[in-house]
Symmetry: C2
Subunit: 326 residues, 2 copies
């Protein structure tokens, strides 16, 4: 095919004016039955599709969801967000929607780029990720009444918008319950410094599963090397640990390397995110199910007709993660 | 802001007709100087942007690059493609272009979905990935003269289209040269079964760096477990190996696990892809530089004015990967 057929090609094939073709598409009641049939046949024969841009102008619906994509940051757990992008694209496609990616170096630039896309009619709705307390994006989106959903809770902010998140506490609770049963009562937790919503939530799940709600809590930055050093110190100190539940796979891999080096390769360790890295070295981990998050986000964003809804009636979905044992 | 300002808002603010506003935007020579200034001021005051859909209809340029995104397949090396998507989005954004993602369960569906986007004027150009010998997509795109570039060589196919690829042979050559120098002459290669363009290319780099062009070649499926078993067998057999260059990080991690289990934790092993998993466990690896691939792809796709060019004058770029030692 040299190029897509246009309105004038249909008009020529059917022997009618361009206006008549347009009428058949947009106001078929205006057109005589035999003319309508002739034009419809030409449309089918030529494979003509009304130009999407024209359709978008008419309906002010671009069938497009904009999503901000951060620059690649490295690290093990970025794969969770990338899995979400894959799933969102796939599931949106099934509903006749597209995913348009945009970037921005900070939240102000992110808002400015999103404003261009929304004002320009290039997107109807947006999915935002990495929300935090005081997030300027959610307030801005709510004020302009743009349909949106967040992957991530507002963490203490008023949550007058729809969001989907993973129930991190449920994940570490499952991991801890398994470790108590499989290894013994002294299940320690390796987490990040207190103060991050996600990290505190994961710690909470561990603590709530302990019989006495008291246990050894270790703290590390989100890095394999730091986690390895922290766990090496603790093991060298002779602390009695039956198993270790971690806030991330990076921490779990660091802990695993320290355990192997200390001759405790058999120490049960559970990570979080179920990344390919954890799978590759055979570590158990909590699986976030980003495909379910994407599905729930689309459910919240789109009304049953498939168009993006206004952000009234905020709804929240917590996806319960799975424990993957290895 | 309640909604984006429209043409009629500008017309009302400037006290002119909608047609006059349209003329100021599209044919300013038709409009008197004082009127033009009044309308330009109203456009600036209101922050009006000509509706992108209308702009697209007029110029038949949507400033959008379509890219197929496979469903998430798991595995360690998928991160390379995701890094490419991040970089393409970021660099395209700097040039005023967007990246629109679409899916398709097979190549026929991929072509059908892409046809919709191109016919509908929703995308001007496309980047395809995972090309192979006899790829129906490249022939289809070339026949309809759609601007496109492939991430990946056509591997034996006529290459009458533009592509960017990573010079895998250069990567394994560097890895092998380093291993010969650092560890000794018996540098083995762990690769996939013969017949894949990418795999054969990486083997070639290893072989070309060996003094005698002869060395131990091990074969594994692309799986940590299989690689681990293969390398465990070879080490148990007492084969003399000074170092191991691998076709992927999955293979390298499997080899590393086998080496540790066999008491050869010090065996130098080099992976390929420089994934977070290899970094986490401290393995050296060949870094594909997907950001440079994305940059080169955009250079090939866009003419200096930033619009997508026709696929005449196919050009090819081989990005030389880096060896990351750990």
């Amino acid at each position: 095919m040299e190029r897509a057929p246009r309105l004038q090609d249909v008009a020529a094939a059917a022997g009618v004016s361009r206006q008549t073709v347009s009428n058949v598409i947009n106001s078929p009641g205006l057109v005589r039955e035999d003319t309508r049939e002739r034009v419809s046949r030409a449309i089918a024969d030529l494979g003509y599709r009304p130009h999407a841009a024209a359709r978008s102008l008419r309906t002010r619906r671009s069938s497009t969801i904009a999503m901000h994509l951060d620059p690649y940051a490295g690290g093990i757990s970025g794969v969770v967000l990338d899995r979400f992008v894959h799933a969102l694209t796939d599931l949106a496609g099934e509903r006749g929607m597209r995913v348009l990616l945009y970037t921005g170096r900070d939240h102000d630039e992110e808002i400015a780029r999103l404003a261009e896309l929304l004002d320009g009619g290039e997107a109807d709705a947006t999915v935002i990720t990495g929300t935090f307390h005081g997030d300027p994006r959610t307030r801005w989106l709510a004020a302009r009444r743009t349909p949106f959903v967040a992957f991530g809770r507002p963490w203490g902010e008023d949550d007058h918008h729809s969001w989907v998140d993973v129930d991190g506490a449920a994940g570490t609770r499952k991991a801890t319950a398994w470790a108590l049963d499989a290894a013994g009562p002294r299940v320690a937790f390796l987490g990040w410094p207190a103060g991050s919503g996600t990290g505190d939530d994961r710690e909470l799940g561990w603590r709530s599963a302990l019989p006495s709600q008291a246990g050894l809590r270790l703290v590390s930055e989100e890095s394999v090397g730091d986690a390895r050093a922290v766990v090496a110190d603790v093991l060298a100190s002779g602390a009695a640990i039956d198993a270790l539940v971690c806030a991330s796979d990076s921490l779990a891999i660091g802990a695993h390397l320290a355990a192997v080096a200390a001759g405790r390769a058999d120490l049960p360790i559970v990570g979080f995110d179920n990344t390919p890295a954890a799978e590759a070295i055979g570590l158990s981990s909590v699986e976030q199910l980003p495909e379910q998050v994407a599905s729930a986000a689309l459910d919240l964003l789109l009304d049953p007709s498939g168009s993006a809804t206004a952000p009234d009636g905020a709804r929240h979905v917590l996806v319960e993660p799975q424990l993957v044992l290895r």
